[in-house]
Amino acid sequence: MTDYKISAKGVQVYYGDNHAIKDVDVQIEDKTVTAFIGPSGCGKSTFLRTLNRMNDTIDICRVVGDIRIDGEDIYDPAVDPVQLRAKVGMVFQKPNPFPKSIYDNVAYGPKIHGLARNKADLDEIVEKSLRKAALWNEAKDRLDAPGTGLSGGQQQRLCIARAIATAPEVLLMDEPCSALDPIATAQVEELIDELRQSYSVVIVTHSMQQAARVSQRTAFFHLGNLVEYGETDKIFTNPEDPRTESYISGRIG
């Protein structure tokens, strides 16, 4: 139908009476990294969460509009959000490993989705995911140790490994590097670049440099509106909207 992986039209999100996302249209391409930037509270996380229907868990949250992934309306009553979330993985702002072993953290998704036929399969998925998340070398000798015993940065990479273990097609990342040091950040950014080969990645970030480094396309949100969306290079060098310009040059935020 379209070349776009995700296409959102006229999306409104309300938290009770709070109109958090106002009429947003976005088309996200497959095998690209799309960055969402904008000042705190502008609705980046909110919009990101509409893409895998994590907002369903918030009682007062109401989503209006049309969001399609691969041309299918994900808010269609026939869609089971559980199936959707297997296809659209998510990494949260705060690392949230399960209080279980490193192995079980990664193996949980494949297990419940029946992705592994036997233990060897599962072992392979766990190793591949941990390798991709640049955690294998640190974790291979302590797969039975609790995931919560890792450092903050390691935990975040564990969460990334957990998300990619279910083989999603879209990966949503909400400020995945906010708890990481520069070295771990560089590792995650490298990982994101690699993931681009197979996934469509959407990343929320507060770091202009990061957005510029990892993304091909950038969307700038402000007070619930999508102000500007386009090629990352163009947004950062030659923004059309004055609000975008003042944000990336540090005048609003």
Binding site: T57, V82, R85, G89, M90, K94, N96, Y108, G109
Partner: protein, 437 residues
Amino acid sequence: MSTSKHGSLLTLDARTKKRNAAEKRFRAYGLGAIVIAVAALAMLLISIIANGASSFRQTYISFPVTISAEEIEAAESSLLKTGAYNKIIQTGLLAYLTERDLLQDTPEADAFGMISGEAGSTFRQFILANPDAAGTTFQLDLLANGRIDGYYKGRVTAETAALDKNVTPAQLELADRLAADGALVKQFNWDFFTNPDASDQRPEAAGLGVAILGSLYMMAVVLCLALPIGVAASIYLEEFARKNWITDVIEVNIANLAAVPSIVYGILGLAIFINFAEFNQSSPLVGGLVLTLMTLPTIIISTRASLKSIPPSIRDAALGVGASKMQSVFHHVLPLASPGILTGTIIGLAQALGETAPLLLIGMVAFVKEYPAAYTADAGLFGEASTALPVQVFNWTQRSDPAFVERASGAIITLLIFLLIMNALAIFLRKKFERRW
């Protein structure tokens, strides 16, 4: 030397002094509060233990008895079987007393009166259990009368005996001679935990057997009903239900139910389970159902609190990898919450174990001499009449014989030990399964 605008660090300024004084005072208040609480608790424990510890030891009279097969046959075919066995005991006692020259000028009736009225049936049980004893002579330990027992526990003296129609000073003197002869012994009172209740005249034979059994049955009912219902209700309210005014109303009501006086549950139980559903009165089933109603709010409140304490990020994590709501609850939230749920359940059970008022209303005060069976075809599951530990305490404190005061205190100690074990178990489980993240 110190010329900075903050002054010297070596001298306290007025504000710091005041703050430190306030802190010291507050610490003293706290310490005082703890001292008062501990002193109150210690006083309570000391008074109960001082009154009740003696109930764990009981005075027995030990002497040889001979019984022939014919005597057994005659006793078994007589109308008053225990009476016939009593005769044989008395013959044995008299033979022993004359042989050792202990009787002296004590009337025979007084000597016989020193043995508990319960002895005949104890003896009969023994003979029925050991048919080989026929034709032999064997040593028999028989309960001494409650007054004689009281004499060795300081309850009865020669002066009180003179005024008491149930005991004579001559009996006490004989008891002393028996003790000197080694025939009067104090033993650990296992019967206290296994015997059923006994009549007003035989405090020495009264035990907690039926009450402990009844309490255990009721705890089984409460555990099997309140835990699953309470946990299911909490999971639904906490994890699945949309938060709206209906859940608010339910929440307020649960909190209210937890504070409703327990006797109200007794009235409810009487109306619903006995008058309407027509379950057996005094049965552990009805008691258990009433206590279930009473315990449910406690379990729901503590379960909800432990579910609430699980960080939402764990739920997000599970949902984020495509787990269903139920998988996120059962794979992640519930295991993490289980130590808290267990603790709440055990505390709820402990509360139920000590509850008296509602059980009085549903007729569990009855005098029960038969051990209730867990299941009979007639009465159904837990349907036979029974009592419960706290009710037995209440019951014994109502009786006039001071020997029952000792028994009641002993029962309280037993109840406290059960509660202590349960609470220790709760702490142990919490420590064992507690996980950090």
